[in-house]
Symmetry: D2
Subunit: 339 residues, 4 copies
């Protein structure tokens, strides 16, 4: 039985981790902590009453080391980097849901998160936890940088095309729409009910911190830098991301071949579903699941590919993918706890 | 042309006042102020861009006196009482949207708002601005305590019955449901999108501060104290209140007579609509309007009357009713600006 | 391994049954049917892609008998009664989610559903599947009438009081609010997005078909008829019911004793949670779970008890409770598939 | 006083026309009709109780001619073309909110609406009612083809750039998101509350019937064909459209100059607001108004312009724009009834 710790239970990511791990047959939650919140987990999240008696303590490294085999860090950005080092040193497996170890160049943290990275040494160690692309490395790693929600939908939507035909891609525009839980449990006017409900807006246009993460891994898959435009929007729903991805092609492609490419690429993947021809993806089909649904539409002139990709931002885009990574790291059934 | 001031523009009540008064043919907004917010009104509320160049200043009594004939106070409770006195003394008409002058006994403020009333002298002067009941007094008054949103729907729903047959009423239970704007522009976790959306809950059960306001005026209409139970709930919508009111009767009544009573009582009222027999009231029919819709259902044993009453909490339950009161005070068409 | 059939997969109840049973360790779905819809289950509900290859056929009795040990009927009212008889005769266990076998007097179907009951013989056989009250009978039964969603929340909210102190209850008013999935997958204007969203209304006031079901079982628990008033409302959310129940007491009761009564009554129940003192129940805490949360508030004069009770109408109010019943019938862990 | 008729009152467009015209100082509604619905307007739309006694009749040409100076047609596509001819012949002004006269080539109706155009003669007569671009022609016309909702937001967002720098535009991608009222009052499963709420999806990807309308008028403004990609999505809100428009430029442009261009272009327009630098447009700022808000963001390499454009699809995208056109046709204050 894997002894799992959750650090950051008061956030949405921590909550969904709790929900998934409580039903996991091979893992047991042995430690729950947070930065500031303390108390019974079912007081913090009453939804868990009757399911757990766990108590959340202020984070204590010695306790984490003693009680856990694997520690999930669901902390705010720039907080994870403070605790990762000692955990790794103590031989613990770490799955970090923050952005702190996703970007390879430390300088990018300065640019996009406006903070110095304080644990550069471990930056190189982290394996990017996108199972469909990096499964082999994940299986051998003890330290996972769990992908961001927007990058997950984008990279899975683009991976087959970019990996195999990266040379044919002229440009990529990602128009992303996310439910409000993507902003975390932040208490700010912009996320008040009356300001989100019956509303819709773009934000951080061409300036969102997930952009370099998407670029970095698209580049890795394509073997060259690809120009990416990324514009996120705020949806008046709780959970779910839909990205509409416009790929301008350098040459005409065939719909049948693209369809074939995607189906083969994801054939054995338990959590990626390529939609039947003609069907569109919908957020409601993936909410509360670890699935990513993808649909393709080629323009009549066959030089523009429109990819739609949907996930639940808190499951496939965070906690579900984290548990998927744990399953791979421990060599157990990848689907355990997630279907 | 009436020169009107709005104090408290940054709240929802102030915003709707602005919206109504900008289109009022007999009034002009000459002064806009707030407690802390300053700047162009259309920066505070971008919806007003292209409609106004007004600038909001920190509240200044001398300016208010100089620039206004009537001042609308859309301030938080316990704030209005700080500014009412000098305005009245300067001969200004005041329409106060806060709760500060609605209760006649100063001691009730201690009980329900946990604060001493600091302007008891003017408590007695205030006329309760429910036009359908107190029109005559409003027309002669210079100082209006504008009714609360919950009390407005409750009192209008009960007025005909209680005024005429108060002796037949055994008990009253008011199950109230309000949109989230009723909580004001408060930034608190309980009003964050993810905590209100797809949710519903009761709050302040048997303990809401509007209870004494409802009791006081029901008592006034009935000529005796009536036992009232009041339980509010939070709806995942922006605007609107529906109250389901259960009146236990001491003796059997007739549906036809009740229907007749209500229709006659409100016959000449421009803003109260008694629903056709068999039709139910719906919040969507009153949102963004100054109407109160009322429907009646009598139990088969004719000893329980179920009254449903709907209003827009920000219009009929606040700013619209305030302008209605202004219209009455100035003797102009009551409907001006409101239809 | 229990071989389970789902009849009525195209409705919301059938969908949630599928979701629960796919993860049930002791049951396997061996048969899926519907009245009119046919085809792959994951075409009917794309959310199930990657989770099942089952195909839905037009209902065929011989097949159902051959392939199933237990059959869940998630059919419209007045449809279940057409198929129950032969299934019982063939020795199959049947769990009926419709209303067809909940009322003991056949004549009530004429009154409330405007149709003759065509299988009166089996009416008496059906055990009402409210586990917290009728567990012993359920465990020995082969035919369950699964409770309605509104009655589930009402009966669980009232059971301790009414069972133990039924003689002290003067009257009961149930103000119920339900998410839109409660109306089923009906395509009608009243359930269109633009007519439900940002709206709220009462419907079938004092005239809802769940009223006699609530009365019947309250009467059974109290040992005498209790006067019940029931008014449902439509909430602009997908799933969840909150009922605010006003109980007028014949004599003063004590808050501490009531609290104690409820906690003891439900002490060993896996799916009923009595809220901590001062906490209010919220729909968000039970959505997608099989829990019923209950909170109590006693009036200052101690003669009115306000009970709030929340469930997910499709889980505890339908499919989850149905699986709970199956678990009891088969003597397996009651929580299997439901936590 | 302009005598105005509304044909198609049962749809959302007709409803908003009624709402606007009831408050218009220079127009009076003298005729209300529909294709199938008949009866009091306030029975069809209870929101109008207390505001009108008008009765809706089945459409009758002779009556329309006798009672109206101008007729608003808010009929389904392919229905307007059946009634326009005789009205024009009788010398009536006609403002058609359907798509029937927007496309100049009759053959396009076959392609996009799958129907033969049966009134080709009047196709050429219709003036496209986008006031900001075609004001002069509108003012002299008696027959207006009122723009579609998606084209309105797209064309206003692109007009300054395309009119002045059409030669610098390499490609245009329009990612559009619309509230559900855009689908009309259609009763279909896809628009049921439970299928729209907490959901989001693209539909008619690269295949929406508004595409040729957008292309036609962009071409007209640019003086040459421009390649346009259009993908609409369904938002879980009632009203409002936001379009995120990605314009690839053939050469670098300057943010300051673009900003200047837009501000000058719309300087005297009463209903177009160019957002302050750094501010994003939001649907909530235009709902229930006739405004179109526009914001610009230029990429760091200055070769991609992101334009966001928001309108209320039923006001600026339909009924409000229609009344704006009427105001222009009659030479009255353009803002009458619309601010």
């Amino acid at each position: 039985m894997i002894r799992a710790g959750i650090v950051g239970i008061s956030g949405f990511g921590g909550k969904v981790l709790m929900d998934i791990l409580l039903n996991h047959r091979d893992a047991r939650i042995t430690y729950v902590a947070a930065n500031s919140t303390v108390g019974r987990v079912d007081d913090i999240w009453p939804v868990f009453r009757g399911r757990t008696d766990l108590v959340c303590a202020k984070y204590d490294q010695a306790q984490a080391v003693e009680l856990c085999d694997v520690v999930f860090l669901a902390l705010p950005h720039m907080e994870s980097m403070k605790v990762v080092g000692p955990l790794l040193k103590a031989g613990k497996k770490v799955i970090d849901l923050s952005a702190d170890y996703r970007l390879k160049k430390a300088s990018l943290y300065k640019t996009w998160y406006n903070a110095e990275h304080t644990d550069r040494r471990n930056l190189a160690k982290a394996v990017y936890g996108l199972p469909e692309i990096f499964r082999a490395r994940i299986s051998k790693s003890g330290f996972i940088a769990n992908p961001g929600c927007y990058p997950t939908a984008a990279l899975l939507g683009l991976a087959p095309l970019v990996s195999v035909h990266g040379d044919k891609v002229a440009s990529i525009i990602i128009d992303a729409k996310s439910g409000t839980s993507g902003a975390g449990r932040k208490v700010a006017e912009g996320f008040m009910f009356c300001f989100v409900n019956e509303n819709f807006k773009a934000y951080r246009v061409l300036n969102h911190q997930h952009t370099p993460e998407i670029s970095q891994f698209l580049g890795k898959m394509a073997g060259r830098d690809l120009p990416v435009v990324f514009v996120p929007h705020l949806l008046p729903i709780n959970n779910g991301i839909l990205e509409t991805i416009y790929v301008t092609l350098k040459e005409k492609m065939s719909e049948a071949k693209l369809d074939d490419l995607y189906r083969k690429f994801y054939k054995t993947e338990p959590f990626v579903r390529v939609s039947p021809k003609g069907a569109q993806v919908e957020i409601r089909n993936v909410v509360d699941t670890n699935f990513c649904d993808i649909a393709l539409t080629l323009s009549p002139d066959r030089k523009l590919l429109v990819i739609t990709s949907v996930i639940d931002n808190l499951v496939k885009g965070a906690a579900g993918q984290a548990v998927h990574n744990m399953n791979i790291m421990y060599g157990i059934d990848e689907r355990e706890g997630l279907l």
